[in-house]
Amino acid sequence: MNELEHVHMGNGHGLPEIVKIEKIVDENRNAKTFFLDKRIGFKPGQFLMVWIPGLGEKPFSISYAGAMTGITVYLKGKFTRRLFEMNTGDRIGIRGPYGNGFTLKGNACVVGGGAGIAPLAPLIENLDDPYVILGAKNADELLFDKRFPDAMITTDDGSKGFSGFTTELLKNILKERAFDVVYTCGPEIMMKKVFEICENAGIKCQASLERYMKCGIGVCGHCEIDGFRVCKDGPVFSSEQLRIMESFGKTAKLKNGEKVSIEDYTRHRYE
C-alpha cells in the first residue's frame, strides 16, 4: 500500500502534561504571569490549553519564551480565580502549543489592548524594531509597559501615556509612517477598528481572535467563526480572512453554542 500516504499517529502533545509553576509575577492589578518549569518551542501567537485537574481547561497564549515558559492571565471568573490562588510549586496541566501563530514579515506596527498584549509580547521580541502601541483602560491595567519601554502607551482615562484609544494613535501614526503589516490583539471591537483602519490605509493586518474553545485541536467545531476554526485555522487571521468574516466584531458563541453579541460574549461569566 505504498501509494497511500502514511498517516502519522500521536503527535506527542495530545495529552496534558503536568508542569510546576516556578515563578509568579504580578503584572498589574488584574494580571499575573505564571512561569512554568518547561521550555516550549512555539510561534508567537500560539496558545496552550491549561488544565486544572478537577476544575477545567482553558486556552492561554504564551507570553514568555525561554527555559520557563510564561502565560499571563487576567482575572475573570472561576478558572482564573483558582489560578490566582495558586502558589509557586503548585502544578497544572498543559497541552499544546496550538494554533497557527503570527506570520513575520517586514516593517511592522503592533497594536495591543488589555490581555491581548500577552500573545503579542513574544512577537514584539521577534520583530525587527516594530512600532508598538499598548493600550488599557487605565494605568493600573496596563500590561508589559515596563517590558517594552519604547512602546507608545495609551489609556482610556489618560492616567498614563496618550489619553484615548489605541486606534486613535494608530490613525495618527499611519499619517506619518508606512508599515508592511499591523499586528493586533485585544478587545474584538478594538481589533475590528484596527482592521478597518488598515483596510482604508491599504495595509495588511493580522488579528488574533478569541472564541470559546473546547477541543483546541480543530475537531469539535465549537470555536468556529464563519467557517474558520479559531483554534486551528487561527487564532491569527489575515486581512483576506477577516474581510469575509461576517461575525468579526459582531457575534460569538457561548459554551452551549448560543450566538450572542460580542459584548455579551465577553461579559459572560460561567458558573
Binding site: M1, V7, W51, G56, G216, V219, G221, G257, E258
Partner: protein
C-alpha cells in the same frame, strides 16, 4: 472511473461523509468541508433544548486515537433551525443529526428540521458518554431502536439513518430493528467504550466527565467488524464510520459492506482537506487495480 455512489436515493459525488460532531456546528463550516472534498456532510447532533455539554477537557488525543466526552453541546433546535437553511444549495448533500431523550423529542426536532433542505436525518442511538441519551439511556437495544426510529420515520418525509454503537453484542439485531422500523440506512459506528485516560501526575482522569468515547485508529478494526456484521443482517446501505484515515481504510470499510464512509478523527490527523485526500487515494487504488466504480467493492470481503 466513477467515484459517485447513491444511498437511499441520495447522490454522493464521492464516498466520503463528514461524521456528526466533527466541525458541523454551522452552515459555513459544512460548506467549507464540502469545498475540501466531502461527498456529503453531517451536522453536529441537535437536541430540543440548548445544552452546555460536559466541561473541558472534552476531547483529547492518546497514542491510538481520540477520546471525547463533548456531551452533545449544541444551541438547541430553535437556534439550529435558524442556522441551517437552504442546505440543498450546498454542493453536496447534508444530513442533520438529531437527538432526544424520548421518542417524542426526536420527532419534534425532526419536524423542526424538515424544510431546511437536508437530504436525510441521522439519529444516533449510541453515544457512550451523555447521561439521558444513547447507550447511557438504553437507546441501543433493539426495542428502543425500533421505537425511536419508528417515531422519527413517522414524523418526517426525509430518509432516516440510524447510527449504532460498536459496544453491543447483538449489533445485527439492532440494525434489523432499525430497518424494520423504516430506516433508510445504518451509520455504523459511533464511538467505542467508553474509555478512560488517567494522568498519573494529577492522579485524575483527564476528561472532566472521566470517561469518553474512543474514535480513530483504535476503533477501526472493531468498526470494520461491526459493518461486516451489519452487512449480513440488513439490506439497507451502511455508512461505515470509525477510524478511517486513508483511502486504503475507506476501501477496507467498503469491502466490509459500507456504501460510503464517515470521517471524523482523521480531520485531526490529516487536516480538513482529508476528504479530498482520501478520495484521491481511493481513486488511485481503484485505477491501479482495475475497478470501475464503488459498487464493485461493496461487501467484497464477504465473497
Amino acid at each position: 472511473m466513477a467515484l459517485g455512489i447513491e444511498i437511499s436515493g441520495i447522490r454522493l459525488g464521492n464516498p466520503t461523509v463528514l461524521a456528526s460532531g466533527i466541525l458541523g456546528t454551522s452552515r459555513k463550516m459544512l460548506e467549507r468541508v464540502i469545498e475540501n472534498g466531502a461527498g456529503a456532510v453531517t451536522t453536529k447532533s441537535i437536541s430540543l433544548e440548548r445544552r452546555d455539554g460536559h466541561n473541558n477537557p472534552t476531547v483529547i488525543e492518546f497514542d491510538a486515537g481520540l477520546m471525547n466526552a463533548v456531551g452533545y453541546s449544541n444551541p438547541g433546535a430553535i437556534d439550529a433551525a435558524s442556522e441551517f437553511s437552504d442546505m440543498q444549495k450546498l454542493d453536496a448533500p447534508a444530513f442533520v443529526s438529531i437527538i432526544g431523550k424520548e421518542p417524542g423529542d426526536f420527532a419534534k426536532v425532526a419536524k423542526m428540521m424538515e424544510n431546511k433542505g437536508f437530504s436525510a436525518i441521522e439519529i444516533p442511538l449510541s453515544c457512550p458518554h451523555t447521561p439521558g441519551f444513547g447507550t447511557l439511556a438504553g437507546q441501543d437495544t433493539p426495542e428502543k431502536t425500533y421505537e425511536i426510529t419508528k417515531a422519527v420515520v413517522k414524523s418526517t418525509n426525509l430518509p432516516v439513518f440510524v447510527k449504532i454503537s460498536p459496544n453491543i453484542k447483538n449489533i445485527g439485531d439492532v440494525a434489523q430493528a432499525a430497518e424494520r422500523a423504516g430506516a433508510s440506512a445504518i451509520t455504523a459506528v459511533n464511538t467505542m467504550g467508553p474509555g478512560m485516560i488517567i494522568n498519573i501526575d494529577a492522579r485524575k482522569p483527564v476528561l472532566d466527565f472521566k470517561v469518553g468515547g474512543v474514535s480513530g485508529p483504535a476503533l477501526k478494526p472493531v468498526a470494520v467488524r461491526c459493518v461486516y456484521d451489519v452487512y449480513e443482517s440488513v439490506k439497507i446501505p451502511i455508512i461505515g464510520t470509525g477510524g478511517i484515515m486513508s483511502g486504503k481504510d475507506a476501501i477496507e470499510m467498503i469491502m466490509a459492506g459500507a456504501a460510503c464512509v464517515g470521517i471524523g478523527s482523521a480531520v485531526y490527523y490529516r487536516g480538513i482537506d482529508v476528504f479530498g485526500k482520501i478520495t484521491a487515494e481511493i481513486e488511485k487504488w481503484m485505477d491501479k487495480n482495475g475497478y470501475n466504480n464503488i459498487r464493485e467493492m461493496i461487501g467484497a470481503a464477504h465473497e
